[in-house]
Amino acid sequence: MSKSKTIKIKKGLNIKLEGEAEKIFIKEDLSERYAVKPSDFKDVFPKLDVKVNDEVLAGTRLFHDKKNPEIVFVSPVSGIVEAINRGERRRIVEIIIKADCEIKYEQFEKIELDAISKTDLAGNLLKAGLWPFIQQKPFNLIANPEDKPKAIFISGFDTSPLAPDYDYILHDEKKFFQKGIDVMSKFVSDKIHLGVNSQFPISKLYTQLKGVEIHEFIGPHPTGNVGIQIHHINPINKDEKVWFVNPQDVVTIGRFAEKGIYDASKIVALCGSEILKPRYYKIINGTSIKNMIKQNITDNKLRFISGNVLTGKKIQPDGYLGFYDSQVTVIPEGDKYKFMGWAAPGFKKYSNSRTFLSSLLPRKKYKLDTNLNGEERAFVLTGQYEKVLPMNIFPVFLLKAILANDIEKMEKLGIYEVCEEDFALCEFVCSSKIEVQSIISKGIDMMIKENS
């Protein structure tokens, strides 16, 4: 391990919400149903490899990407394909697997890291459906196995609201984590960059790792976003590509290398103000959240989110965990009218501005619902986004370039350095209620089209 000096980030915002997961493990019984959702993967056009009622093992391919057929997506458990749900224009929404009582795995070759070539290694990961865990910046796409990335980054901590504590999650996974790092190291000549939170003593798991360069960060959300860390360590320029992997997915890759099976088990935090007992759950990727929330939620009208409250996706109470997500958040729906809400003194309202009296009170935690708290307007206030975006980028100018479809300007203003998640706080604080993330998303889609 080697270490560089701490990077202090001042801009940002920690939204303190009620319902943080207590550090207690629940080993969940195997859920009945699992799903793989093609919409979790940006710019992937799914082509099915299975039919309804087909029998699958954990690791059997379900579909592949039409544009890059070598990128395949596999079943996380063994069972039968129960349904293939389609949405608008027959787009595949989810492939649902009814699980066996006990998981049977498809057996792949174990990986001998010293002997294997880079191409063969990529081939093995591709075949077993682990490749989608490796994503690239710019744009958060699945990495292209033929690229040679400038560097590989891992953010070792998550600062988003109610985020799980990776130190806790990865506690017992040291061996597989190291193995995963070793696998990833094959793809770059440099060490892998690992961002850690130096607000707390750095986890031994990280300090004892070999083959990584540790970067200490200190600061509020979005400091934990890998995109923010890349921006401060080694920003992305045009035509450059870097790869990144989530810590839990590194473990999954390591486990595969060691055992030769696709064992997609991971730990998620079940959190949010409407969860009676917020805890950590050991589950298998793609699980239905039905069992987890059973008798564990309040009676209110609720919003179920796979992921965190800023970037997660809305799911049904019997919906499924997203491919890259490590938390499930449940908060109240806010579809209620609030009488003169804008004029109230606002002792209980949460705002990053100091326009409500709550800013005078030392309040620890807030219970926020999904109400927009206003109507959409044109850009009026300035300097709001800058306060929560720790990047050397002019957010409003970039957003306006996207709205104007001006690709050249987008490039100049730094579209390659940003992703939706980095702008999530801008959307949260926006007094004009502008859908910032979807604008960024639109810009990224334009760039993908332009570059392909």
Binding site: P235, K314, Y337, T355, R377, V380, F394, E427
Partner: protein, 379 residues
């Protein structure tokens, strides 16, 4: 509140397309949203949102204007009773009531004319009604002399809202500060009602000189009121601009809540102070001899710095740009005041000119960022 909500839900269909009053849909929705924050939840993007919205933002600005407004109302009465030499025979409430009765028509005209246009254009464009006019509608009467004829005020307001704002696309899209446009409109179209000695005091006896301190100086009469009157605002002038003290209370509210930019506000005062020091060294006109600190208390300087220059829509939007923008406003305001005695009220022009230049400042600031990025690519 439940019965009110029920009533609104019951009459709502009448205002939707095909309903009896569909032409009033925007108006209805504006009032509904005014009474009840809508029940709309986030469907994409972040699931939670900050409690602040445009209504809150604008309400805070109106709130910050209150001290200056209340004092302005009192001062209308005060100046009147001074001019009639009755000031020692009336009590506080008589003075305030007189001011209130004089000031109220201005506010009513400003809001009725402005909001009617706003509601109408929202309906034509199929937009929601924007909150921006809540502030503009209050600013307009505050920067007018109390003697301004109401029909002129109405015409100026219509001009500012239609040509200054709506043609550009409404709040957030305008280039010039609408309230200042209204003032500039009257200034150029009916100069006798915006300067001179007869408009600043309501119902003034003819024999009494009603000039503002600034216009007094233009007459060669360097007789600046004492600091107390100047700072607390017991001088003739536009309704809201006289009391620097009350304006500073408003400034404090805007800065604590974070609605207005400290960078702009501070640099306007700094720019004005620097320019005043420079002109003190010269002897161009009578104005150049005013002590630098008092320059900032005279005329609309403080009011402009706190409530006009900080308008986020028409000002500079970048951090560095805000310092430059503010500094140049202060500089220009004093420069215009000093070198051109016909326009002692330099603040209005300074802000309007800088409104025009703000995008240019931002252009260069943003380009510095772009160049930095390009440089990184080359290395």
């Amino acid at each position: 509140m439940k019965s009110l909500r029920k009533y609104i839900d019951r009459i709502k269909p009448n205002f939707h397309e095909g309903g009896k009053y569909e032409k009033l849909q925007s108006t209805f929705e504006a009032f509904e949203a005014f009474l009840f924050v809508p029940n709309k939840t986030s469907q994409i993007g972040t699931h939670i949102h900050d409690a602040i919205d445009m209504k809150r933002t604008m309400a805070i600005v109106v709130f910050a204007l209150l001290p200056a407004t209340l004092f302005g109302i009192y001062n209308i009465g005060y100046q009147h009773f001074v001019s009639t030499s009755e000031i020692y025979s009336v009590d506080f409430w008589q003075i305030f009531w007189f001011g209130f009765i004089e000031f109220l028509p201005l506010v009513v005209v400003s809001y009725v004319v402005g909001l009617t246009i706003e509601f109408a254009s929202a309906q034509i464009k199929g937009h929601k009604v924007n909150e921006g006019y809540l502030v503009t509608g209050m600013l307009i009467p505050l920067i007018m002399p109390i003697g301004v004829p109401l029909w002129m005020l109405a015409v100026a307001t219509a001009f500012a809202v239609i040509l200054g704002k709506e043609v550009f696309g409404g709040t957030g899209m305008n280039i010039f500060n609408p309230a200042l446009l209204a003032r500039a409109f009257i200034f150029f179209s009916y100069p006798s009602k915006m300067s001179g000695t007869n408009v600043w005091i309501a119902d003034k006896p003819d024999a009494f000189s009603g000039a503002t301190p600034l216009s007094n100086i233009a007459l060669g009469n360097i007789n600046i009121p004492d600091f107390y009157d100047l700072f607390f605002g017991f001088i003739p002038g536009s309704v809201g601009e006289t009391s620097t003290f009350c304006i500073l209370i408003g400034a404090l509210i805007l800065l604590i809540t974070g609605i207005a930019s400290f960078k702009i506000m501070f640099s306007v005062f700094l720019g004005g102070y620097c320019m005043s020091l420079i002109v003190n060294l010269t002897n161009i006109t009578f104005y150049s001899q005013i002590p630098a600190f008092e320059q900032l208390l005279l005329g609309g300087f403080a009011f402009g710095a706190v409530f006009m220059a900080t308008d986020p829509v028409t000002g500079s939007q970048t951090k560095v740009g805000k310092y430059i923008y503010g500094f140049l406003i202060g500089l220009l305001a004093i420069l215009i005041r000093v070198v051109n005695p016909a326009y002692p009220e330099g603040m209005m022009f300074a802000i309007l000119i800088m409104n025009l230049l703000a995008p240019l400042i931002d252009y260069y600031v943003v380009h510095a960022n772009i160049n930095k990025r390009l440089k990184r690519l080359k290395i």
